[in-house]
């Protein structure tokens, strides 16, 4: 890790065209990768090349162009599955992480939840891992229970055990890394305990997969959802990995072309996995782009990505602490968190912090971060949030801290 600290991964910056931009002569400092990451030319060019030379609909096509497109599409699925430690047959492409979680809520949830059953989520979940469960619980008469977060933004396994001991828990849905607190949750342990209690686990990996090595097979969760656009890939595609035994017995979700085996007038039968859950024309170019993104991440090395995030987060935690009246949320140890840091400054609303940062071309996010229940737990309406990826450096953190000092001046603090 020391090697990484003295030699940050700055050599990749040139791969990211957006980072060459300036606003009012100031080079952009992009610290909002938790919202969406920037894309390397390798990803952008792979999609352009697909459209320029191989574009065709996939599957079923007899002609060479269609075979080429199919190979590119299904080849990307294989690489994406390998990247995540999963099987291509249980690697389903959706529209985004929200689509992946909804697939489970609708297909698994509506057939497996009933009155009295309990779905467990946590106070730190993203709305995409709360609202689908609210809806399916309301429909099925099941109950939604929240695990609380500690002062340092961490879950308690004891509380989990208590809830599981209560019985009736059918599903535990938990973020791998919180998009607000940065907390790296012990999902392997959570999945193991849920399994022992007879519950299945869904891990929302939207913030984890992009920035750390994840091996779904080892992790042991039944469902794992993530999204390409935060992992240096394109918009328009998300991923759901599922346990084969579950996927096989689950009814389809989105119905239409391609997910069927046979359509009769009254009813239909379904295609094999993974296609049973992919209706209509797939996000083909997007899969190609995501394939290029995981190739890129593998080439950098996910261990190095993780080390870089950790180092930068540690530096950010240290430098941000210099700002007066600041409150930093989440674990204070970079070892136990991902590359995202939320904070508040007493006397300046997050919105105003972001506005003044923008004047220095420092891009941070302000708001509830699609985590309103967590905001209420933290006792704030909004936080400011800086988040990192491979293209960030200590200089970016320094630029942020200067902008925060400038904000304090504007607000005469």
């Amino acid at each position: 890790m020391a090697a990484v600290a003295t030699q940050p991964l700055v050599d990749v910056r040139a791969d990211f065209p957006v980072l060459q931009r300036t606003f009012d002569g100031k080079p952009v400092v992009f610290l909002d990768s938790a919202a969406t990451a920037q894309k390397p030319v390798q990803v952008i060019d792979a999609m352009s090349a697909y459209y320029r030379t191989s574009n065709s609909n996939v599957h079923r096509g007899v002609y060479a162009l269609a075979r080429e497109a199919t190979d590119l599409f299904e080849g990307a699925r294989k690489r994406v599955a390998a990247f995540a430690g999963a099987d291509p047959a249980t690697t389903i492409f959706t529209g985004n992480a929200s689509g992946a979680i909804n697939l489970v809520a609708y297909s698994w949830g509506r057939t497996n939840l009933g009155p009295g059953d309990v779905v467990v989520v946590t106070h730190m979940e993203h709305h995409s891992n709360i609202v689908p469960w609210q809806l399916v619980c309301a429909e099925r008469g099941a109950r939604l229970r929240y695990l609380s977060t500690s002062e340092t933004g961490e879950l308690s396994l004891d509380e989990l055990d208590e809830v599981l001991d209560g019985g009736s828990v059918k599903l535990v849905a938990v973020a791998h890394v919180s998009n607000v607190l940065g907390t790296l949750n012990p999902v392997e342990e959570i999945a193991a305990r849920a399994r022992t209690a007879g519950a299945v686990t869904l891990v929302d990996g939207a913030q984890a997969m992009p920035q750390m090595p994840v091996d779904i097979d080892r992790l042991g969760a039944d469902f794992y959802a993530w999204t390409a656009h935060k992992a240096l890939g394109p918009t328009g595609i998300g991923v759901l990995h599922g346990r084969r035994e579950l996927l096989e017995t689950m009814p389809p979700f989105i119905a239409g072309g391609h997910m069927i085996s046979r359509v009769d007038l009254e009813s239909s039968s379904w295609n094999e996995l993974p296609w049973k859950f992919e209706a209509g024309t797939s996000p083909i170019a997007e899969a190609v782009g995501l394939g290029a993104a995981v190739d890129y991440l593998r080439a950098v090395g996910m261990d190095r990505v993780r080390a870089h995030e950790r180092e930068l987060t540690a530096y950010a935690l240290e430098r941000l602490a210099e700002v007066d009246d600041i409150r930093i949320f989440g674990p204070l140890d970079a070892e136990r968190r991902g590359g995202v840091v939320s904070f508040a400054i007493d006397g300046i609303h997050a919105h105003d912090i972001a506005e003044i940062c923008d004047r220095e071309a420092v891009c941070i996010r302000a708001g509830h971060h699609c985590a309103q229940p967590l905001m209420r737990t933290l006792g704030v309406a909004a936080t400011a949030r800086a988040s990192f990826h491979v293209y960030n450096s200590r200089d970016d953190v320094d630029a942020l801290v200067s902008a925060l000092q400038a904000a304090r001046k504007v607000f005469e603090l």
Partner: protein, 126 residues
């Protein structure tokens, strides 16, 4: 001087006029800005068809708090029927600063809440 965070904006933000609750009140309304989660409520006392007194409460950024504070001074004493006719331009005039599209909802939240209390119409002012 800062073009957005002018002295009087910061002054109103730090010491908002007519903030708090008002019990009893005749009208009230509570709403939020879905973009940032800011919440604002209002309590109004009506006498002779006029806003006799009001209090805003909630959390928000400098723009939304200053807008509530500055306009509150104008709103007190105004006929309720007149409140219903106020539009976005009126708030922005009162603020006296340029408002970018991103901050527009911040500026308008207090008027939205006022109109919600007086007319029941909770749409964003144009």
């Amino acid at each position: 001087m800062d073009a957005l965070y002018r002295d009087y904006i910061l002054e109103h933000y730090k010491n908002p006029r007519n903030f708090g609750e008002l019990e009893p009140h005749d009208l009230d309304f509570h709403d939020h800005n879905p973009l940032c989660g800011d919440e604002l409520g209002v309590h109004i006392v009506v006498e002779d068809g006029k806003v006799a007194d009001l209090r805003f409460h909630g959390q928000g950024c400098a723009i939304s708090q200053a807008a509530a504070s500055i306009t509150s001074e104008e709103l007190i004493g105004m006929p309720v029927a007149e409140v219903e006719r106020l539009g976005a331009d009126w708030v922005i005039d009162q603020l006296g600063i340029d408002i970018s599209p991103t901050r527009r909802k911040c500026a308008l939240l207090s008027l939205k809440v006022m109109r919600g209390a007086t007319t029941g119409d909770a749409s964003w002012p144009d």
